[in-house]
Point group: C2
Chain length 405, copies 2
């Protein structure tokens, strides 16, 4: 098998969220009748249930009307928009961000992640990632010919922290890892890192001269008044640090593809060089929509976060009623990652079966680490009633496949 | 120097079109006073002079109003939009395109090019590109650790063909090249390949089992009623072929970032896997705008092409009046690539000087091949009067730097 055939074999996206409609049909062990109910796609948030930020369409319209100056921007994004975004991200995180040097606007946070990884991973480089964590992280390491060094997260252990195995992380740095990538809140568990965890990660990275890449995509949606620690604003942060974030989740602006990365000047500058050959720039007219981000009407975000917290409470309650099902309540973000008891089918098949019998799309745990063979991920940014009904249907289907003791 | 430092040093984009505002200030040999006139940015087309396709904003609005189903699409693009685009691209090119297998919607044609190259170039692979050709082509080969094999284009020789050196191309295939990438019409010269050239390229690729990647971005803007040959619709095409195209140029939809690639199923499928980790998808709401492409009001495209042909005629006329200046009239697209006589300054410095003294942005020839040290590129999709005035200012500045005989 040649290099590319091998590489792309690992990059499969048939089980990835949102790709379910492209799955090849294969015979499934379907048990019982379909369960009626409103179809729910838990693979991503429902922007019909939680609408895009107020004024986002009008901002796009203004950008379109500006014409040429908005259609073509520097690869890193329009100057005055970078100034506005830098000011707002500084205020939010506490980090110092020079809009000329430390910020790039990207096509979604995925765009930021890709550009950062492409700027930091050379073939053979050891890269530490968390398991479980966002499914694209491992694929990016593989695409850039890096060597994956997984770090365990014991997320059931202590709800006051994410549960990252810091001893493993230090060993990874000792073994030559020079880049550590993690999402906070963690995707898919919704675990938030404690201040202590963040401080130790920063200090280890400094000691070993490692680069940190922190995905804070969901950092505006923290529940229960819990403390959230922005690594970028801490003392003694490593010299090489990039934070990525965007308005696609809580703000529901995913359809515009907007993201941002901020941090070390040399990494941002590499990312722009890469952007120049990847897709030139974040769609020019869409860039105008950044102005609605962090400029929401008073009370809007508080209300939106509270609505998600209520859905979390209901779903976690439903899941915990079922014997053998385990789940850590989400600290932040819109994901839960329930663990199921032993089933007669694989988790990948279970997800396909659920789609057919219950009209519900869920993402198999194995997308987030090969060991998560009993987990699935749910994005609960949905209509609350539809979401709880759908979870009940998933659990009803699950009972048909529960392995006999 | 480590691998990435070396790689990104080659990826410089300071002289790239549109990046002029980020150039570091360095002392220039400025001669004489600034020449007054309306500033013109020849680094890209002016969408204020040639507006986006009629109905494009309204199509976006409808996409936004559809909501969730339009915000989140398959990575390769929304199914019914792929069906529409496949039908229209089939009608335009004559190629058979199955919207399920042979087509991916991408963030601009640049996005298509990046995904295709990322799917086809492994480290060490020999890749043939034309000199001159689009500046990103060489950068992509370098980014993916390929080995560049340049093929000469003798574009002054015979205006009935592009002038590709087909003997060099065959030697390249003999030496192990398995991928040939070229733009037709050629960027930056505007030369269109003759039917004979296209037939020979296709036949050589077949013989040597090579893959072809054809950039047809400007293929809807052909002048003088000249014949244009779509390689994808020829008999005896190679098994592995991808054509890329998009509505960013003649259609002025660049601000939405829309492109497309069609061709071999396995390459399109790889491109989608890569898209899944690059930026997920072409911005969902923007995808709704594809419906205006190839659905222009009657006579719209003919008029737009004629307007560009008139600008070409005027600019070529002005350039040819000047002793020592050489230019091939554009067959298709919005570029001219004039060659200047010997100057006292480098072409890169000349471009910076022109920006300061004449308020005109032009792109140095060296972006298109290291040997083009006396050329610059102009995108003449501009207001006609502003463009001809600006070219006169460029030539007036040029006289101040003409080397004494």
């Amino acid at each position: 098998m040649d290099i590319l055939t091998e590489k792309f074999a690992k990059l499969g996206c048939d089980n990835a969220p949102g790709q379910e409609s492209l799955q090849k049909q294969k015979p499934l062990d379907l048990r019982g009748e379909a369960i009626e109910g409103r179809p729910v796609d838990f693979s991503h948030g429902d922007v019909d249930a939680f609408a895009p930020l107020p004024g986002s369409f009008e901002a796009f319209k203004q950008g379109f009307e500006v014409g040429g100056k908005q259609a073509y921007t520097e690869y890193r994004g329009k100057d005055f928009i970078r100034e506005d975004v830098a000011r707002k991200l500084s205020a939010f995180t506490g980090a110092k961000i020079d809009p000329k040097k430390n910020l790039i606007l990207t096509p979604g946070t995925q765009g930021a992640l890709f550009l950062a990884m492409g700027s930091l991973v050379a073939r053979g480089d050891k890269v530490a990632i968390v398991e479980p964590d966002y499914f694209a992280n491992r694929k990016l390491v593989e695409f850039f010919d890096g060597e994956l060094v997984p770090i365990t997260m014991n997320y059931y252990e202590n709800s006051a922290q994410a549960g990252l195995d810091l001893i493993e992380l230090e060993k990874a740095f000792q073994s030559g890892v020079r880049l550590f990538l993690f999402s906070n809140p963690n995707n898919p568990t919704g675990a938030v890192y404690s201040r202590d965890e963040i401080t130790v990660i920063a200090s280890l990275a400094r000691s070993y001269g490692a680069t940190l890449l922190v995905d804070e995509l969901y950092s505006r949606q923290i529940f229960d008044g819990r403390e959230y620690t922005h690594l970028c604003a801490q003392e003694d942060i490593p010299e090489n640090l990039v934070t990525i974030i965007g308005p696609s989740k809580t703000e529901s602006l995913s359809g515009f593809r907007l993201g941002a990365a901020f941090g070390s000047e040399y990494i941002i500058s590499r990312m722009e060089k890469l952007q120049a050959i990847v897709s030139l720039r974040t769609a020019g007219y869409c860039q105008a929509v950044y102005k609605t981000w962090f400029s929401e009407p008073e009370g809007f975000m508080e209300e939106r976060v509270a609505a998600h917290q209520a859905i979390r409470d209901e779903l976690v309650g439903i899941l915990r009623e079922v014997p053998g099902v385990r789940v850590r309540p989400t600290d932040g973000g819109s994901y839960v990652f329930p663990e199921l008891p032993e089933l007669d089918v694989s988790i990948e098949d279970f997800c396909k079966i659920v789609r057919q019998l219950a009209g519900v799309s869920i993402t198999p745990g194995t997308e987030f680490g090969p060991q998560f063979t009993h987990h699935f991920r749910v994005n609960f940014s949905q209509d609350q009633k539809a979401a709880s009904d759908a979870i009940r249907r998933v659990l009803a289907v699950m009972e048909r496949y529960r392995k006999a003791e």
